[in-house]
Subunit: 326 residues, 2 copies
């Protein structure tokens, strides 16, 4: 059994507990939290310890899954823990991945551990599909669309607008843009042409709805480059109809082949997810197995999904995989 520790206990950690239940070669042994452990009840029944006691639990952990946020938690915690444990994280601030890689690589090499970073669906499975697609159809273009799904960051941004009590924002890919991409015409698409944004907003009683709407649709970096729709609804409606955290999207690579580039090809990878964090947790769990196996083979250092042979994700042997899946 591969012993999994969880560092932090939020949506991702709970998702990993559920995913590990579906993998018979793994068990969640312990959870580490900055909160008072007595206030935390785990789904799996795993023991809960104070985060700062982790080094006294080394023999309970084969792979430590880092479940904090990308903004401030993971940049500190993943390198710190990679010195002592094999780790997997879902660091998703794309522009800081190179720096994060260097930090984790240094720490993991020092500790003789494996650190797998930026695991999930984007970065993660979408990245893999961008890579495979571009290596196969070298004369082509790739496109990533997100949605339909809830953007937590955009929902949070709306909640900071004066007069807003609560909000939920959906990112929606534009169907015409998807069709144009699938045609193989390799269109140049602006931000506005690729996605629209739909906002469900609960306003304070008596708030100026027109001003709230204007504040939202003109918000720099979040909404100003998009066609944005704002719907004012009640808290009851928001809780009833917009409770889930669905997401998904598309990675499409199109390219040309042939002596005269006369043939078009379309590779499309898509996800339709009822629960964004639970799916992310499933990907992390599979890569935790890979981290364990790489460490068993004596590897160390930082790895991403690009560096890991697909077979390492599976509990099946090479023989079984070739027989059943190739």
């Amino acid at each position: 059994m591969i012993k999994i520790g969880l560092y932090g206990y939020g949506n991702i950690a709970r998702g990993v507990e559920c995913a590990v239940k579906q993998n018979s070669d793994m068990v969640v042994t312990c959870v580490f939290t900055r909160r008072d452990p007595s206030t935390v009840t785990t789904i799996s029944g795993a023991a809960v310890y104070k985060a700062d006691s982790i080094l006294s639990h080394k023999d309970e952990i084969d792979v430590l899954i880092m479940c904090g946020g990308s903004a401030t938690d993971l940049p500190e915690q993943t390198p710190a823990m990679a010195k002592h444990f094999n780790v997997v994280d879902s660091f998703d601030t794309h522009k800081n991945i190179p720096m994060h890689f260097e930090n984790v690589d240094k720490a993991a090499r020092e500790g003789g551990n494996v650190g797998v970073i930026s695991v999930g669906w984007d970065p993660g499975m979408f990245s893999l599909n961008r890579l495979y697609g571009s290596c196969i159809l070298t004369d082509g273009a790739d496109y990533t669309f997100w949605g339909k799904g809830v953007s937590q960051g955009h929902s949070d941004a709306i909640r900071r607008v004066e007069g807003v009590l609560d909000a939920r924002q959906y990112t929606i890919p534009v169907e015409e843009a998807l069709d144009a991409v699938r045609s193989g015409s390799q269109p140049q698409l602006t931000t506005r042409q690729k996605h629209t944004r739909e906002c469900f907003v609960v306003a304070k009683e008596g708030a100026d709805l027109a001003r709230i709407e204007k504040d939202i649709v003109t918000m720099k970096n979040y909404f100003d480059e998009y066609d944005t729709t704002v719907h004012f609804i009640s808290q009851e409606e928001l809780d009833r109809d917009h409770k889930g955290i669905p997401h998904g999207g598309f990675v499409i690579r199109t390219g040309k082949t042939g002596a005269n580039l006369e043939h078009n090809h379309v590779i499309e990878y898509s996800l339709k997810l009822d629960s964004n964090p639970e799916f992310t947790s499933c990907v992390i769990t599979a890569y935790a197995r890979a981290a364990y196996r790489m460490a068993q083979e004596g590897m160390s250092g930082c790895k991403t999904v690009f560096d890991i042979p697909p077979a390492y994700l599976s509990s099946k042997s090479g023989e079984e995989l070739r027989k059943e899946m190739l």
Copy 2:
């Protein structure tokens, strides 16, 4: 420059020549044929030699791409050549892959070479998507659909029917089956429910069309388990409207997550290919680069797409890939 040799000169070899032109770190140096070399003109202008002279051209080849057929050529040729060269093939007889793997592994280890087998889209990219999907959504099911596309094997089978001059057979996935799979209901589907077969047949003058149709739709292993449609057309129509070799298909994995398995997820990978052999050749070309890099690192033995880190397919460095694609 990675020096590519081609063993055999048919559709796949010509596709590789076109693909290599699109990859600036590779060149096709030579082609080996059982025919008289003076009768073969290559697209790339590469030298053409007699197949049995290949060992005197060892220094012209970093990776030898095996371009023969899976029925009789590759089972013999890939192991024989893996003793002397890094090789890549597209062996696609699924049930014989384990045996082929063993043969190529033994030969490649003897020679200290890398042998990559069963590269293409199925086996190949579809296999990868079956593997990734099953490792992520462990409580789920996967489905592979082929088409719409030309099946060469089925077209050949029709041509062997008495009274048939020429034929082209399309495999077509059933839209309702695709929709049922995408719903996440994990339906049990029969062969008949998944695909239909559409045949365009040129009959000899005066042939008994009703008998030909009956011979086709009742043909064991090829058509008897499918709903098959037969259209009789002229040779001119066949040549005009059915000249291409398009293909494609879908790998769909659906699965459930959550404490009570309350969330559904759908992973879908699809290909829409104007030219089946050219796309296969593009995949082979990317894996030829991987074979070269693995050999450079001192690896040897047989590998499949399951064993190869995705980054090895790319000419870009790890730093570039993390920065641009993760």
